[in-house]
C-alpha cells in the first residue's frame, strides 16, 4: 500500500489525535484534553469531508464533462458550507469558553502535524532509497 494514500492519511490522523489527547490529558489535565479532542475532531471530520467533496467533484467532472459548470458551483457551495460550519462551531466554543482555547489550537493542528510527519517520513524513505539503491529489491545491483 502507498504511504500517502487517503486511507492511510485518515488512519494517521486518528492515531495522531489519540496520541495528542492522551499526552494532553497526562500533561495538562482533563479540560485541556477535551479541548484537544474537540479541535482534533473538527479538523479530522473537515479533512474527511474535503476528501469526499474533491473525489466526488473530480469523478463527476471526468464521467460527465458536460455538467462542468454545475459541478464547480456545487463544489464551491459545499466548500463554503463546510467552512461556515467549522467557523460557527469554533466561534461558539471560543465565545462561550466551553473548552480550553490552547487545547483547541493544539487539536486544530492535528491534520497539519500528521501531514508534516508523513511528509518527513516519505522524504526520509526517498533519501534512504537514493543512498542505498539496492534497498527494497530482492537482487543487489552490484
Amino acid at each position: 500500500m502507498e504511504l500517502l494514500s487517503p486511507r492511510r492519511l485518515k488512519i494517521a490522523n486518528w492515531v495522531v489525535l489519540a496520541i495528542l489527547v492522551a499526552v494532553g490529558y497526562l500533561v495538562s489535565g482533563r479540560e485541556f484534553a477535551l479541548g484537544v479532542l474537540v479541535g482534533g475532531l473538527l479538523v479530522v471530520v473537515n479533512f474527511h469531508l474535503l476528501h469526499r467533496f474533491l473525489k466526488g467533484t473530480l469523478e463527476k467532472a471526468q464521467v460527465d464533462p458536460e455538467s462542468k459548470g454545475r459541478t464547480q458551483a456545487f463544489f464551491a457551495a459545499k466548500q463554503l458550507l463546510r467552512f461556515t460550519g467549522l467557523v460557527a462551531v469554533v466561534f461558539l466554543l471560543v465565545r462561550h469558553g466551553w473548552v480550553n482555547v490552547i487545547g483547541l489550537v493544539v487539536g486544530l493542528s492535528t491534520v497539519a502535524l500528521t501531514l508534516t510527519l508523513l511528509g518527513l517520513n516519505e522524504a526520509m524513505k526517498i533519501k534512504n532509497k537514493e543512498a542505498n539503491p539496492s534497498h527494497g529489491t530482492s537482487h543487489p545491483l552490484s
Binding site: 487517503p6 473530480l58 469554533v90 465565545r95 491534520v111 497539519a112
Partner: protein, 125 residues
C-alpha cells in the same frame, strides 16, 4: 500592473480609515483611554489578521486547484495521485486560515492579554 495598483490603493484607503478610527479616542482620563485604545487595536488586529489570512489562503488554494486540474486534464491516468497531493496541499493551506480564525476569535472573545494590560495601566480586574 493595473491590478496591483487597485490592490495597493484599496489597502491605502483601508489604512487611512483605520488611522481615522484610531484617532477618535475618548477625551476621558489617560488610563481608560489607554484601555479603550487597547480594545480598539485588538478588534482591528483580529479583523486585519483574518482578512490577510483569507487573502493568502484564497490565492494559495486557487493556485493549488488550478495546477492540479491542469495536471489531471493533461494526464487523466495520474488523477488519483494528483488528487491526493492536492488534498494534502489544500488541508495544509486551510489549516493556516483556521489558525488565523481561532487567533482572531481568541483576541475578540477570550481577551488573553486584558489582565496584564489593565494591570500595567493601573486598573484592577
Amino acid at each position: 500592473m493595473k491590478k496591483a495598483l487597485v490592490i495597493g490603493f484599496t489597502l491605502l484607503v483601508s489604512m487611512l480609515f483605520a488611522s481615522l478610527a484610531m484617532a477618535a479616542e475618548p477625551a476621558a482620563g489617560g488610563a481608560s483611554a489607554g484601555l479603550g485604545s487597547f480594545f480598539s487595536y485588538a478588534v482591528l488586529a483580529a479583523g486585519f489578521g483574518m482578512g490577510i489570512a483569507a487573502f493568502g489562503t484564497g490565492i494559495g488554494q486557487g493556485l493549488a486547484v488550478k495546477s492540479s486540474v491542469e495536471g489531471i486534464a493533461r494526464n487523466p491516468e495520474a488523477s488519483g495521485k494528483i488528487t491526493v497531493t492536492m488534498l494534502i496541499g489544500l488541508a495544509m493551506i486551510e489549516s493556516l486560515a483556521i489558525y488565523a480564525l481561532v487567533v482572531a476569535l481568541i483576541i475578540l472573545y477570550a481577551y488573553p492579554m486584558t489582565k496584564p494590560i489593565a494591570a500595567a495601566l493601573g486598573f484592577k480586574i
